[in-house]
């Protein structure tokens, strides 16, 4: 069987895998900013992700949110490769001392208007790494934070719900 017919066969057999996410599942969070974003970003949000010392589980779940099952992109949210293209900075990790400068520079490279979202318990206040000699105990000690998505790590569904509630 040729490659293309193989892919086609699989595609048809598998059908639609994307999970519907009902609107009632989405809580209304951050109403104030919600309106601003609606107005400025027109329900389309480009996100740049920065890991400042996470264990990697948050990254794994953010990637999972873009897989065919959760398909975050269908809501107008996408991840971009450069801070120059980003509206929002999504930060994970408790901020290792080594990442402070890189985090600031990434933020500075973003065009206005811009805002910061933190994801995962350690990005809030250091989490289990709080009090270590090498962490800054959360992102808010370095940058202004507009939204926090809690969890260790938050599930893909939780990530999408929180982001949508925001838009």
């Amino acid at each position: 069987m040729t490659m293309l017919s193989h892919i086609l066969k699989n595609r048809l057999k598998k059908g639609l895998v994307t999970r519907p996410i009902a609107s009632q599942e989405i809580d209304s969070l951050g109403q104030e900013l919600n309106r601003t974003i609606n107005k400025i970003f027109k329900r389309s949000l480009h996100i740049r992700e920065v890991d400042t010392g996470s264990c990697g589980a948050c990254e794994s779940e953010i990637i999972a949110a873009t897989n065919p099952i959760y398909d975050l992109q269908r809501f107008g949210i996408s991840f971009v490769a450069s801070p120059r293209h980003a509206d929002a900075l999504l930060v994970t990790g408790p901020v290792s001392k080594n990442m402070v400068l890189a985090l600031k520079k990434t933020y500075e490279a973003m065009p206005e208007p811009k805002f910061v979202i933190t994801l995962g318990d350690c990005a809030l206040d250091g989490g289990v790494f709080k009090g270590s000699y090498y962490v800054e105990n959360g992102v808010s000690s370095v940058l202004p934070v507009s939204l926090h998505i809690p969890g260790c790590p938050p599930t893909p569904l939780e990530i999408i719900k929180r982001l949508l509630a925001f838009l």
Binding site: M3, H6, G53, S54, S60, N67, K97, T106, C122
Partner: protein, 496 residues
Amino acid sequence: MIYLEVKPEEFKSTCLKLHKELHSPVMMLFVDDERIEQGGYFIYCAFLSFKEQQWSWVKTRLPADNPVFDSIAKEIYSANLFEREIKEMFGLEPLGNPDNRRLRLHDEVWPEGHFPLRKDFSGANAGGRVGEYSAGQVFGEGIFEVPVGPVHAGIIGPGHFCFSVAGEPIIKLSTRFGFTHRGIEKLLENKLPDEGVALAERVSGDSSLAQAQAFCRAIENISKLIVPERALYLRAIFLELERMYNHISSIGGMAIDVGFSFPAALCSIIKEALQALNDRLVGSRFLKGAVAIGGCRDIKEGDKKLIIDSLAIIMADFSEVRKMLLTSVSFMDRVDTTGRLSLENAENLGVLGMAGRASGLAVDLRDNIYPYSAAGFKMMVRNEGDVLARLIIRLDEFEESGRLIQELLDKLPKGETMSQPGKYSQGSGLGAVEGARGPVLYWARLNNEGRIVRCKIVDPSFRNWTGLSLAVLENIVPDFPVCNKSFDLSYAGNDL
């Protein structure tokens, strides 16, 4: 377990002898600050004879007033990173090691003369010195540098790569890590063992089960806790589930890195199915909380069927992925002979785990270990050492893990899954588990109150990153992502 306590001047020669006789790289090399109890630092070096799975330890006491030791890194290259680590964390000088750059405490943010793992460390004010980190430059006509990171284009951990290239081919790759350093070994000090499990699970999130299990093994070995049969089986099942979601994630990553998106999408569907299964079994997509000291969580009535039914769907999808990848000429062209790591280099660098097995290094900590032996464990080894070999190892191990899980479920003994709670005793011990990337090693020492005094962690990424640096040589820069993904190492595990 063989312990050799030697005089400081015999440390080097003993290590060299064991290295030669056992054909083992340095598995662990670390320091324990016992100045208060014993008036000095103890330095430990571990080797492993792979066939017999027999550990040999060399241990020596360095006086507090003259804490230096003879470097073994010139003779045993796999000791190099460990020696640099000892120097920055304890301030002990490895005499004769030419590489005195720091690994994790970057010069730009950390002042001189502060050694976090010393017992009398009381923090350091922010500071550091302004200066360029030297990555070792290549000079010559037409040679230029491509610096990348620490912030990368993808959703991935931070690390700095500097490629020296002549045209397209890479002549040298210098790496700099430590960007996710959180000081976990220090955080574990003074903790009760049960509090340490959560930290171990967060050393490297995608191998939280292997990390927690290795940590628990170390504590159980110290306290001579007997883990019930049923728990041994369940731990092995969980470990294979973790291996499966990691392997399929890396396989998908390799496909996406050469622009082959359909199988990559299918891989992410499989990964999701595995993580959803984890969630239903233990309430965590990353199997957090699945193991505890003395045992693990039990599975519920009907979970056996759930696992078998889920695996049937997963394996059907997987066989499609395998077929699609290995029959695509343009895909095979990208991975065949790409990023080759020779057996000699793998041995010298101390590369282990699946990356080592793809280069002909037949080492797997599951080999001859119960309950794997009861399930007929088969080790996967290939000799080519290229991206394709690492891909096929992952494909084969994925299938083998699926088979092992079914076999272990079949034989799953009845009974308890937690040992009788006992007191933690004073002493030291090792926990070693073959995680998805390779051996996850924990050495711990408890005091008379049962608290952790020192815990040394070696994630397989720590030893395998250097393997990537050599594997990419003479490859073109656009092939770096697929080479990198074929190793798929953890930044957090390396940086701790």
